[in-house]
């Protein structure tokens, strides 16, 4: 979810893994240079439709998969992805794109070893984002759907739909849920525990205390 603090959590996790001698590679959603111009044009003119929005993100993902995800995996690194295909499943479906279609679209994606969902109530995520920024972004707030002329209202409605899509994904894809309302340290502890279950990392609580 937006404002769930997952980027912070991922950065802390990367620190921990690196300190434990694990080479990590971080890749972010919608960050490839390939679709940047089109996304920017589309966003500026507010001319993206749910379908083109979805396809542009899939293009970005495909680009990063080939350049930023598969090579580090082959090199034996841990790839930390800030958002993965599940974000598309949740957001695109919330925009009214066919669920089955978007799942098939991403069938070329590598199945992650661990997928963690930082769950947060709408009110909390809205508060966090509003406290941090002057203005919510147009598409992030789902303003393209035309549900409300108020950014905050629209954000809440849109994120509400995104949230219920995520709930569906938890069962469908076995996402691990972290309660993102707790303190940063608490969440990080849970996160690290989850990761440890999937690989042999030397536990070092000192590190965590240091951060806290």
């Amino acid at each position: 979810m937006d404002g769930s603090g997952k980027t912070t959590q991922l950065a802390l996790l990367a620190k921990w893994l690196s300190a434990a001698g694990q080479p990590v590679f971080v890749t972010e959603w919608n960050s490839s240079a390939l679709v940047k111009a089109a996304t920017k044009t589309g966003k500026k003119k507010n001319s993206l439709t749910p379908m083109t929005f979805s396809l542009l993100h899939a293009t970005d993902f495909a680009d990063r998969l080939l350049y930023n995800i598969i090579p580090p995996l082959k090199a034996g690194m841990i790839v930390l992805a800030d958002r993965y295909a599940y974000t598309a499943f949740a957001r695109d479906a919330a925009r009214g794109v066919d669920r089955k279609w978007v799942r098939e679209l991403y069938s070329f994606a590598v199945k992650p070893d661990l997928a963690v969902y930082f769950k947060v109530p709408i009110e909390v995520s809205a508060d966090r984002l509003l406290a941090r920024r002057v203005k919510l972004k147009f598409y992030e707030a789902g303003m393209d759907m035309g549900w409300s002329s108020s950014l905050v209202e629209s954000f809440k409605m849109f994120q509400g739909k995104v949230l219920s899509e995520y709930d569906r994904l938890v069962d469908e894809f076995g996402l691990s849920v972290v309660n993102a309302v707790g303190s940063i340290t608490e969440q990080q502890r849970t996160f690290r525990k989850l990761v440890s279950q999937h690989m042999s990392i030397q536990e070092s609580d000192e590190q965590l205390d240091e951060i806290a």
């Binding site: 390939l34 396809l55 080939l66």
Partner: protein, 254 residues
């Protein structure tokens, strides 16, 4: 499984029997298109078969008869054109991003040009349709089922004409017109350093792909080696017959 959020006509999972003017696969849930009076006529074929010449002549002929006509063409979307051109020149595309950029372009034109035109009763003359994307993807080894699912949101054209040409004629025409270009020669596929050999192998594979889609998608095949006006006459004859049969658009009659 494929339930949708707010589809007014939730008939997802359209059977394989396709109806012109409906979606190939699962409908775009928020974009109902049933009962729109417009028609889609697609002209398919490789480079050098004279598609745009034929379309220009068809448009003129249709407009004289009182039909409203719009044209749509491959990679011409406002959203994607600059990106596709940039991507092609920068040489960082792989087969997946190649396919997805085209699909995005098509989606943009579908929603912004094609569907509004169908709603308003226009005849949409499409210079290439999804079959070009499928042929190019097929040649590059993209999964056939995946690409068909991807284009499930495309609308079944009322008529698809495939201007068919043989390899030898194709090569000569392209060389005469503008010479061989990197992507049209499939140089990304590393078939060989010799651009002529690569071009030949690529175009041959493309022709095979189009050929295999002919039955699957009900192409009306025309021999593109014939003279422009002979092909045009044939197109007019078939389109005229189709329009006479389903005359719900325009003022009809020649």
């Amino acid at each position: 499984m494929s339930s949708s959020m707010k589809s007014p006509d939730d008939n997802v999972g359209t059977p394989a029997t396709v109806t012109p003017g409906s979606y190939y696969g699962n409908p775009i849930p928020y974009l109902p298109i049933d009962g729109y009076p417009g028609k889609i006529i697609a002209i398919e074929g490789t480079d050098g078969v004279g598609r745009s010449t034929q379309i220009t002549l068809l448009r003129e002929w249709l407009e004289v008869q009182g039909y409203g006509v719009i044209e749509t063409g491959w990679t011409r979307s406002e959203l994607m054109q600059p990106t596709i051109e940039l991507a092609k020149s920068s040489n960082t595309l792989n087969k997946l991003t190649f396919v997805l950029l085209y699909a995005t372009d098509f989606a943009d034109r579908l929603e912004k040009e094609i569907v509004p035109a169908l709603k308003a009763g226009f005849i949409v003359l499409s210079d290439r349709y999804i079959f070009t994307a499928m042929a190019r993807a097929g040649v590059r080894g993209v999964d056939r089922t995946w690409i068909r699912n991807l284009y499930g949101f495309a609308i079944v054209p009322h008529l698809v004409f495939y201007l068919k040409i043989d390899e030898k004629t194709l090569i000569r025409r392209v060389l005469q017109a503008r010479g061989m270009e990197f992507w049209e020669s499939g140089m990304d596929m590393k078939l060989g350093d010799d651009i002529y050999e690569s071009f030949r192998a690529y175009q041959r594979a493309l022709l095979r792909e189009y050929g295999s889609m002919s039955d699957e998608f009900g192409f009306r095949v025309l021999d593109a080696r014939r003279k422009v006006d002979i092909i045009q006459d044939e197109l007019r004859r078939q389109i005229g017959a189709f329009l006479a049969e389903t005359d719900t658009v325009g003022v009809g009659g020649a």
